[in-house]
């Protein structure tokens, strides 16, 4: 009639992991999976711009239509995000390297110095750049006054300004994972390389760099994905020929009330981002990613 106590315990033990993950699982399901499904379902609905009411019409045409219509903006976003991420890697690698290997007791201080500017709101920092780079702003007035640039030279409204804004705003997302990766390298491995007559540059290329690869990849993803969907930098610093897909999505939702179009573009954006994460997991294993998040 009653099951033996041992089996009962085993059953309980088997259930424990599921029970323990239940709160997190519910959280994820309710606040992530359900909204995601709602967003995906909107791509198939028709919404009234006036009342905002949506009705399921199973129209599959919206997704290919908007993707085709805004192909150019997708390409622009990919290029801008990619260039900005590369810039960030090039800029932050030496910083992270220096802090990790030569920071000594003051490592935390240097890290905080790196992060302090980013305590100020994202939007405010970008607006300040707009102010600094404006045609009658400090920088351009000085450059023009000293004939260092032609009189018609301007920065705002160009793709360059957008890429620079992206690179600036996402720098910590690159620097921190790189720092973590470099910091974790066992110093004894470097001593071993030294003992085996490796020069400093050989040690860097054949020991440090390979060990830092997961960090570089994590840094790449953490920078590239938000930069790809960013709209603030383009809105504030960009012009007419460099609209990014994030701006389009924002306009479709907030100005044009084209919910189906906005949801379709968001879905495509999500798929591209997931592809990146999948690639990371395949190449470097899924275990390392949480170390950097």
């Amino acid at each position: 009639m009653s099951s033996p106590p041992r089996r009962h315990g085993a059953w309980r033990r088997g259930l424990a992991p599921y029970l323990l993950s239940l709160p997190a699982g519910l959280w994820l399901a309710l606040l992530f999976v359900v909204p995601l499904l709602i967003m995906l379902s909107i791509t198939l609905k028709t919404c009234s711009p006036a009342s905002g009411a949506c009705v399921m019409t199973w129209q599959w045409g919206e997704l290919p239509h908007v993707v085709n219509q805004y192909r150019g903006q997708f390409v622009t976003s990919l290029i801008f995000a990619f260039v900005a991420t590369l810039l960030d890697l090039v800029i932050s690698f030496p910083i992270a390297y220096w802090i990790a290997f030569y920071g000594g007791r003051r490592k935390n201080f240097f890290l905080i110095m790196l992060l302090v500017p980013f305590f100020v709101s994202f939007i405010i920092r970008t607006l300040v750049w707009e102010f600094i780079l404006s045609n009658n702003g400090v920088v351009l007035t000085f450059l023009r006054g000293n004939h260092l640039v032609p009189s018609g030279f301007h920065v705002l409204g160009t793709g360059l300004a957008v890429v620079a804004g992206l690179a600036y705003n996402y720098l910590p997302f690159t620097a921190l994972p790189l720092y973590v990766a470099l910091e974790r390298i066992d110093r004894r491995v470097l001593n071993a390389a030294n003992d085996l007559y490796a020069t400093r540059s050989v040690t860097f290329v054949r020991v440090i760099l390979p060990l830092a690869i997961p960090g570089i990849f994590a840094a790449f993803l953490l920078t590239f994905i938000p930069a790809f969907g960013d709209y603030v930098n383009q809105e504030i610093l960009g012009g007419t020929s460099n609209t990014m897909i994030g701006t389009v999505i924002q306009n479709l939702f907030l100005i044009d009330s084209d919910y189906a179009g906005g949801a379709s573009l968001s879905a495509v954006l999500l798929v591209i981002s997931l592809l990146g994460i999948w690639l990371y997991a395949r190449l470097l294993g899924s275990r390392t990613i949480e170390d950097y998040l």
Binding site: T46, C47, S48, P49, A50, S51, G52, A53, C54, V55, T57, Q69, Y70, G72, Q73, V75, T76, F131, S134, N135, N136, G137, G152, H154, L156, G157, G238, G239, T240, S241, N242, T243, T247, V248, N251, L254, I255, D256, S257
Partner: protein
């Protein structure tokens, strides 16, 4: 079924015209109602309230008996656009005077940056049958949102008996306008022109034509507005078409011209209200602009360089309208405040600050010879405004001359959602294009 059938006569029922064109599928009335929050909400209301509704018409929002049943709550929440009301050391003299004479406290919110996004903010509340938090909102006639609010029954019809100042002092320009015949739902706040502004230090020969916006001389230095209805209308003027009488093929012509302007690298960017900052910063030298912005900037000695050009092809005349969104909690207080602004004494103080087209012609005399409380208010504002009241009074931008009115153009009046979609399909890709 009873409440559903009643629904047809309710002002809440959605005009099927709004649904037309947004989908190929046909909707039955029942579907349409069940789909929209309004339909649902009013269905429930109708179901609950039908016995009493049949007894008295007091339930019909905006009817005279409904208005009679309203009481003053001595508070009103007013949502308006930024820099649009008299300001003196952080306070608004007209609102202070209103509170001191009526005992109604005004919470003034400068929250409207553009029609579309503000509409998106208040729509969920309206669709759910809830108070939006505002008793007065100010919407422009050149965007579809004001039409949506009227069509969906989301505005409370005004109490015509409380519009004493309005009836007496409202100018012909804004009285009983085409977008709201008989002022059933709206009273103008201010009007203005969408025209051309330029930096007179960098532009020596502006000419008189709208072509200045398309001049390759200013490549990369021209600002255009990102509002598709503004952009399209200016495009129509540039190809020599009256926007109000335009057809879809005219829109295509205008779009072609604007596309060319963009691909020639003439346009620096498509701006929202921020264009004025870029014009001041020198990022652009010529721009589409709102008349009052340039006039305000011009008064400030620092920006004497900015000049307003009302082109010979015409300038677009728009009007911002005060209206009371449905489910307002303080409609009587709102009505009182709206009519208060049509007192010429009050309007003279508003106008001294904001320099758009005044809805009350009699305010001109009040600026020249103030007769009431406004005398002290105008005098105290003098140093911060920085010019004599006579300058405002004599400005043909604030009190337009008949020629100015004649040269003003009206926006195209959309007849269906399909037309709005067609317009957007022409002009949005230009603004949002890669």
């Amino acid at each position: 079924m009873e409440p559903l059938d009643n629904q047809q006569n309710q002002p809440d029922a959605i005009d099927p015209a709004l649904w037309r064109g947004m989908t190929q599928r046909r909707f039955t009335r029942r579907q349409t109602l069940s789909l929209s929050g309004v339909g649902l909400a009013s269905l429930i209301l109708a179901a609950c309230g039908s016995p009493s509704a049949s007894k008295s018409s007091a339930k019909v929002v905006g009817s005279s008996s409904w208005w009679q049943a309203q009481k003053l709550n001595h508070v009103v929440n007013f949502a308006n656009w930024p820099y649009y009301i008299d300001l003196l050391s952080g306070k608004h003299p007209t609102l202070e005077h209103f509170t001191s004479t009526t005992g109604i406290k005004v919470n003034y919110f400068e929250v409207i940056q553009d029609n579309a996004s503000f509409y998106q903010k208040i729509r969920p509340s309206l669709a759910a049958g809830q108070y939006t938090g505002y008793d007065i909102v100010v919407m422009t006639n050149n965007n579809p949102q004001l039409g949506y609010l009227i069509e969906l029954g989301w505005l409370i019809p005004l109490d015509q008996s409380m519009m004493t100042n309005y009836d007496k002092y409202a100018g012909p320009l804004i009285k009983s306008p085409t977008w709201d015949p008989g002022n059933k739902y709206t009273m103008a706040w201010q009007s203005g022109w969408t025209a051309v502004g330029y930096n007179n230090q960098q532009v020596k020969d502006p000419g008189t034509s709208i072509e200045i916006l398309f001049d390759k001389k200013y490549a990369g230095k021209v600002g255009m507005l990102s509002d598709p209805f503004e952009l399209g209308s200016i495009g129509l003027l540039a190809v020599g078409v009256e926007p109000a009488a335009s057809t879809e093929s005219d829109w295509a012509k205008a779009a072609k011209k604007l596309k060319q302007q963009k691909s020639d690298g003439i346009v620096a960017a498509y701006y929202d209200q921020s264009y004025i900052q870029h014009l001041k910063n020198g990022d652009i030298t010529v721009s589409m602009c709102y008349s009052g912005d340039i006039f305000q900037a011009d008064l400030n000695n620092k920006y004497k360089d900015l000049t307003l050009l009302l082109p010979e092809e015409g300038a677009m005349l728009w009007t911002d309208n005060m209206c009371i969104p449905k489910y307002s909690q303080n409609p009587l207080d709102a009505m009182t405040l709206m009519d208060y602004f049509y007192d010429p004494e009050v309007q003279s103080v508003v106008e001294y600050y904001n320099d758009y087209i005044c809805p009350v012609p009699a305010a001109k005399q009040q600026l020249l010879n103030p007769t009431g409380w406004n005398k002290a208010a105008l005098a105290s504002m003098n140093s911060s405004v920085g010019l004599p009241t006579a300058v405002t009074a004599d400005s043909t931008i604030v009190f337009p001359s008949p020629e100015r009115i004649k040269a003003s153009k009206s926006y195209y009046n959309f007849k269906s959602q399909a037309e709005i979609d067609a317009w957007n399909n022409m002009f949005l890709p230009i603004i949002q294009g890669a």
